[in-house]
C-alpha cells in the first residue's frame, strides 16, 4: 500500500513539474515565436513523456513490491542499534585499519633504521663518535625493529672494540 502511494507521489511530482513548466511557458512575457504547430508538437511530446513516466513509475512500483517481499538480509535500524549500515559505510573495516596502521608503522621504522644506518656509516668513515651522535642514535633506537637495531649496534660495538671508532667525549657509547 505504501509503495503504491510512493508511485502515485512520484507521478504527481512529474505531472506538477510538467504543469509548472507549461504554466511558466504560457505566462512568459517574452516573445513566443511559431505558436501554432509547435504547441501541438510540444503537447504530443509531453503526452509521450507522461506515458513514459507512467511506465517508469509502474516499473518502480513493481520493483519496490518485489523488494518488500524478499527476505531482508540486514535488520532494520532500531533505536538500540542506530544506523548499522551507515556506520559500516563510514568506517573502513577493522582489518583494513590494522593493515594501514601496520604499514605506516613499518614505513616509520624503516625511516628510523635508514637514519641510524647513515649515522653509523658516517661515524665509521670518520672514525669519530661524538656526543651528539650518541644522543641522536639514542633517540632513534627505541622505534627501530629489534633485528635491525641489534645488527646496527653490533656494527657499532665491534668497531668500538676494535678501535675503529673513538669517542670524542667520555660517556656512554649510545
Amino acid at each position: 500500500m505504501r509503495l503504491s502511494l510512493m508511485g502515485g507521489w512520484l507521478l504527481s511530482v512529474a505531472l506538477a513539474g510538467m504543469g509548472g513548466y507549461g504554466l511558466a511557458r504560457s505566462t512568459d512575457s517574452g516573445p513566443v515565436p511559431q505558436q501554432g504547430p509547435d504547441l501541438q508538437t510540444q503537447l504530443e511530446q509531453q503526452r509521450a513523456l507522461l506515458v513514459s513516466l507512467r511506465a517508469q513509475v509502474g516499473a518502480l512500483d513493481s520493483r519496490l513490491t518485489e523488494l518488500a517481499r524478499a527476505p531482508s538480509v540486514a535488520p532494520l535500524p532500531t533505536a538500540s542499534s542506530p544506523l548499522p549500515a551507515a556506520t559500516a559505510l563510514a568506517a573502513p573495516p577493522e582489518a583494513e585499519v590494522d593493515e594501514e596502521a601496520r604499514e605506516r608503522a613499518r614505513v616509520e621504522a624503516e625511516a628510523l633504521v635508514s637514519r641510524g644506518e647513515r649515522m653509523v656509516e658516517s661515524a665509521l668513515s670518520t672514525g669519530r663518535w661524538r656526543q651528539e651522535d650518541m644522543l641522536s642514535l639514542r633517540a632513534l633506537l627505541p622505534g627501530m625493529p629489534k633485528t635491525q637495531r641489534e645488527a646496527m649496534l653490533s656494527r657499532l660495538i665491534t668497531a668500538y672494540n676494535e678501535g675503529r671508532l673513538t669517542q670524542e667525549e667520555t660517556g656512554p657509547l649510545f
Binding site: 633506537l141 627505541p142 629489534k146 637495531r149 641489534e150 649496534l153 653490533s154 660495538i157 665491534t158 668500538y160 672494540n161 678501535g163 667520555t170 656512554p172 657509547l173 649510545f174
Partner: protein, 126 residues
Amino acid sequence: MKLAKMAMMLPLLALAPAVAQAGTKCSTTATVDATNRWARGALGSVRNSAEATSLIYCITYSWGYAFCSARDAANVTGSCGTSDPAYINVLNSMTDDAYVYFAWDAAGTCTTMVVESMSCLDPKSH
C-alpha cells in the same frame, strides 16, 4: 714506674678497635682482555684510580637492551650488548660500588655477565 707503663699502653689500646673493624679489601681496577674478549672492574676502584683513563659502566634500556663497556688504563676498550632478559636482570642488581665482569663474542654480543656486591669492594671516595 707503673704509671709510665700504663701511659705506653694507651696508644695501643686506642688502635685495637680500629684494627678489629677493618675487613678485607679487594680493589679491582678496570682490566680489558681484547684477545679473549672479557673485561672486569669494580666501579669504586675504577673511580678512585689515580689515572684518568679507565672507565667501566653498564646501561639498561627501556626497549629491552643492556650494554656494558670498560676501558683500562692502557686505553684498551671492550664492550658488549645484549637483549637477553637474563643478562638484563643480572645488571638490574648492580649497585653503585659493584664489581662487574662481562665477556663477548665476535659480534659484540654479551656471552657472560657477572655482577658482585661484596664488602671488600671500594666505595667511591671522590
